[in-house]
């Protein structure tokens, strides 16, 4: 048992270099041949923010203080989760030719997608800080605690990514369905509206939406300068750790069959 764990850790160290390589490939290939290159990671959320702000603050007359920051703090963490899981979903079937020829620990493919999403998130956060300074939003000391909700979300996204990548190997339908699911999820998470416009029943259901908790956590730190309660921390952690447990379990049970189905 102990020996088995040691072997696993040795393998992880041996392939850490591959993880780094896969992540940097992801980032390089995405922006290759675009004039602005890596700048897009910063520019993209900014442009989205401008569009959403125009639509929601002029059209729907929502009165949320510092709306651009309200939107960015929610949407950055949400798109980190949704984009990385959508990419992870294709990571096993997309690397079929490689898996058939060389032995590689297979979890590296979905995990590398989540890690490259994390790098992206880092850049996007810089964009948010710039907007905060430009708008004169107070930079609170709680900003230093941002790694905490990002860590919770990272656990959650990794778990979901592992689960989706494994399930897609056996049921390709999932790849078609997940796009719609993510869109519904976007609307059911208070990213560009305040949660209290929802009816009571919907808010009860909302408590089961992990992304709602992560989004709220981000906002507490960025906008309101509060550290969420221990109970809230526990909820966020349990969603993340639970998802990771389920994802890892399914992935490990099925991974030896991947080669036969991709």
């Amino acid at each position: 048992m102990l020996h088995g764990l040691k072997v696993k850790i040795d393998v992880f160290i041996k392939y850490r270099n591959l993880l780094e390589n896969l992540v940097s490939r992801d980032i390089k290939v995405r922006y290759r041949r675009s004039v602005l290159g890596m700048l897009w990671t910063v520019l993209n959320p900014l442009l989205m923010m401008v569009v959403i702000t125009i639509v929601f603050s002029t059209l729907f007359k929502q009165n949320i203080e510092h709306f651009p920051i309200y939107y960015l703090s929610g949407s950055l963490i949400f798109s980190f989760s949704s984009e990385t899981t959508s990419n992870a979903l294709y990571s096993i079937i997309g690397n079929a030719s490689l898996m058939k020829k060389v032995y590689i620990p297979k979890y590296l493919f979905p995990v590398s997608k989540v890690v490259s999403g994390l790098v992206n998130l880092g850049f996007s956060l810089i964009a948010m800080f710039v907007v905060m300074l430009a708008m004169g939003v107070e930079c609170r000391i709680t900003l230093l605690l941002l790694p905490i909700p990002i860590f919770y979300t990272f656990l959650f996204a990794t778990g979901l990514g592992l689960l989706l990548s494994a399930a897609t190997v056996f049921f390709r339908d999932i790849s078609h369905f997940y796009g719609v699911f993510v869109m519904a999820w976007t609307y059911f998470t208070p990213i560009f509206y305040p949660v209290d416009i929802l009816p009571e029943t919907a808010r009860k259901v909302m408590d089961f939406n992990p992304m709602y908790h992560y989004v709220q956590y981000m906002r507490e730190l960025i906008l309101y300068g509060n550290f969420p309660s221990m109970r809230e921390n526990l909820i966020c952690f349990l969603f993340g750790a639970g998802m990771l447990l389920i994802g890892t379990w399914v992935f490990y049970r099925k991974q030896d069959k991947f080669v036969l189905y991709v």
Binding site: Y15, L18, R25, K100, K101, V102, Y261
Partner: protein, 242 residues
């Protein structure tokens, strides 16, 4: 002497369903109709053998006899349905050259990516980089994306990366014919170097001549069963008489 490769009663089964079910609707319909039966196909049946350090084994057999499946189970790509495989060292799988090349990346980036796939550290690749590029004769093209390479150039790069290190176990699936005749000569020399350095070699070929030339031992597969295992000369002549 320690065994480098121990293949212990390995059997490999594939599902031979005529159309693979990979969507949920189909799966549920079949489940309800109780048609989720697969036709079983045993690609390997009870294969057992052992190789010591420095052994070289040629695997011969007709098309579809399970040669590549056996190599893949030893390389760890496939997990055997029954039985177990033990390998006692670093494996260089040359089942296909340049597995994992990314066409959008340059040759330089691909060298590092491919090295990482084979499990080497960045420092090690730094020290070997010049040697690889020189061997592959691609000095002037290191920054060119791989999609602009000719297939010969890609194969040369793949071969150079895979053989830069002397592995404990080398797996070859008919990859000796790479590039033009000049490069073929060069790659054959490299192959012999590895053979003489004490690596354990597994070699699949349709050419009995090559097996005789390279290998000491041979294994004859027929419909997934081990028909013969022993001295290369003996197995090869039996195989030819068939």
């Amino acid at each position: 002497m320690d065994a480098m490769i121990r293949v212990n009663d390995v059997s490999m089964m594939f599902n031979m369903s005529s159309d693979r079910i990979d969507n949920i609707k189909e799966y549920i319909i079949r489940l309800l109709k109780k048609q989720l039966m697969f036709q079983e196909f045993w690609a390997l049946k009870h294969i057992s053998f052992e190789l010591e350090k420095g052994d070289s084994l040629g695997i011969v057999g007709l098309n579809g006899s399970g040669k590549s499946t056996l190599l893949k189970t030893i390389a760890g790509v496939l997990k055997p349905t029954k039985g177990s495989v033990y390998t006692g060292g670093a494996i260089a799988p040359l089942i296909e050259l340049g597995a994992g090349f990314d066409d959008d990346l340059s040759a330089e980036e691909n060298v590092y990516l491919n090295g990482a796939i084979l499990g080497y550290s960045k420092e090690y690749m730094d020290s070997k980089y010049e040697e690889i590029i020189t061997f592959a004769e691609l000095k002037d093209f290191t920054q060119v994306p791989l999609k602009n390479y000719s297939s010969g150039m890609k194969a040369r790069l793949g071969f150079a990366i895979a053989t830069m290190n002397v592995p404990d176990i080398l797996i070859l699936d008919e990859v000796l014919a790479v590039g033009d005749y000049k490069f073929q000569e060069k790659s054959f020399h490299r192959m012999e170097e590895i053979l003489h350095s004490g690596a354990t070699v597994l070699f699949v070929s349709h050419s009995v001549e090559q097996v005789r030339k390279i290998c000491k031992k041979a294994l004859w597969l027929s419909n997934g069963e081990m028909k013969m295992f022993g001295d290369a000369e003996m197995v090869c002549s039996q195989y030819e008489m068939m």
